[in-house]
Amino acid sequence: MFAKSLSLSLMLSELRVMFTRRRTWAMLAAIALIPILLAVAVALTSDQLAPGEGPPFLDRVTQNGLFTGFTATLLALPLFLPLTMAVVAGDTIAGEASLGTLRYLLIAPVGRLRLLVVKYLGTIVFALAGTFTLMLAGGIIGAILFPIGPVTLLSGDQISLAESIGRMALVAVYTAISMSGLLAIGLFVSTLTTVPVGAMAATVVLAGVSQILDNLPQLSWLHEWLFTHYWLSFADLLRQPIELGSFASNSLLQLGYIAVFGALAYSRFTTKDILS
């Protein structure tokens, strides 16, 4: 208990550092901008859009503003969301190393494993902040520009306003879980270098590669092992009755990535010479 509460104080300090940075707020603002741009664009052109044109759900946005968040998630998933995750995860260790603050944390002494765990939990908090920002901004701008009410799901059933807000939160959580494997990869890459930009770039490239592999039919045996495989399956949460199969598979897969890359990061970081 005692040790736990002391680690809590480090966790809070980590979040304070993260949310003191202007960069963190800039990325959250950029994330919020995605549904806003989307909704404005749709509102301005809604009379020209044939049903089914554009990304999935896009035509539904005009019928129900609450769909803005879902559609924006779909748009942000391939590149923009992983990019912000790569920035935060790539910065974890490499950023402290390049500032030189890493050596002062270690001689405090913070404990290398403890630092690694707190750093990772910090990135998860950022992922949640990002996906909820996206949903929240989507819900708000959708409510302003379009009618809102009971949502007609992909299955054709209707759910109440309250329940649809619950589904929005669930999709935000799902997407944050989707990012957790990538965040673990980024954490590991971050222990390999003292150049944070390098770690960020490598991480975002890996997210891209995984998505490309997921689209090659020749590699279908590999697909279910790719950490990006279930990213778009959040749509299953928009059925009635709700289908939780992909939620479970995705969580299990991400846990696997967290275990493997967490272990790699641990073995690398705990034996590393800190020379910066």
Partner: protein, 314 residues
């Protein structure tokens, strides 16, 4: 064991290899508790690398380390809370205030008490004279202010030893003096101070002990008095009839003399009897205009050991 308990830092055959280069080559440091220990060496001689190994930031390639009686890295977590350190210059989050930076580092220490944190941070800031700049973001700090903030970080808790890597780097003469005074007052409290520098003049007045490092090796180590003794005493003589003088000195067993244009210089034991020699010279009717024993300065000794100038040795 009892002997090493008297030592704050003890290393044996400590070695660090970077590729084919030995940055630190089999050094045996003995830093007595309560001493102000100067760790002297030109740039690139391996001081920072040694300090990194002592603090467990880098693993030794070979050799053993004991810090406050704890084997490193095995008992690192037990030793570090008793150690305050400044390594390779200060480092902070530029977008946070000086005060919040200290709070951050103190929060990282699982042994530190959260309820006294603010008080301790403010006391440390006060001690280094940064109270008025505490709320400023660190990117607005001068190098000297950052250096002080680094010292404040080392002073967040009562420490048994302070390991300070070039703490006067980047400070103006006034700042250097202040840091020296701070170190003196900390030493007076009984804290062991291990301070590195590439300038003897920066730390000579401060230290009770000294180790001199060059190209990864320790070439001299001991108390200041011991080191002064190790440097060779010289007899300086100025008189007429130089040739006869040389012959006479040879009869006295002083053979390794060197002839300067106007005087003779001979290495002698430190307890050499100048008065008797003088009496002898007067008896032989030499006109002696100068006769004295000379002790080379530590500076001269240091330069002899490490070579002179700005050249990085490797």
């Amino acid at each position: 064991m009892p002997q090493s308990l008297e030592l704050a830092i003890k290393t044996s055959s400590l070695t660090k290899q970077f590729g084919s280069q030995k940055a630190v080559s089999s050094i045996d440091l003995s830093v007595p508790k309560g001493s102000v220990f100067g760790f002297l060496g030109p740039n690139g001689s391996g001081k920072t690398t040694t300090i990194r190994m002592i603090l467990g930031l880098a693993a030794a390639s070979k050799g053993e380390i004991e810090l406050l009686g704890h084997p490193i890295p095995k008992e690192l977590e037990h030793a570090l809370p008793k150690v305050g350190a400044l390594v390779e210059g200060p480092a902070f989050y530029p977008y946070m205030s000086g005060r919040n930076n200290l709070i951050r580092i103190d929060s990282a220490d699982r042994n530190s008490t959260a309820s006294t944190r603010k008080k301790r941070v403010d006391a440390a800031l006060e001690r280094v004279g940064l109270t008025n700049a505490a709320k400023k973001k660190v990117h607005a700090y001068s190098l000297g202010m950052k250096q002080r903030l680094g010292l404040a970080n080392a002073l967040l808790k009562p420490r048994e030893i302070l390991i300070l890597d070039e703490p006067t780097n980047g400070l103006d003469p006034q700042g250097t003096r202040e840091v020296r005074n701070l170190i003196r007052s900390l030493a007076a409290e009984g804290i062991t101070i291990f301070v590195s520098s590439h300038l003897l003049s920066e730390i000579e007045q401060l230290c009770s002990h000294l180790a001199v490092m060059t190209a990864g090796k320790i070439v001299a180590q001991g108390s200041l008095a011991e080191l002064r003794n190790e440097s060779q005493t010289r007899l300086v003589l100025k008189a007429d009839r130089i040739d006869e003088l040389v012959d006479l000195l040879k009869t006295q067993g002083l053979t390794k003399l060197s002839l300067k244009p106007d005087r003779v210089v001979v290495p002698v034991p430190s307890d050499f009897d100048v008065a008797s020699l003088n009496q002898l010279l007067v008896k032989k009717k030499f006109m002696v205009s100068e006769i004295r024993l000379e002790q080379p300065s530590l500076e001269e000794y240091f330069v002899n050991l490490t070579g002179e100038g700005f050249e990085v040795v490797r």
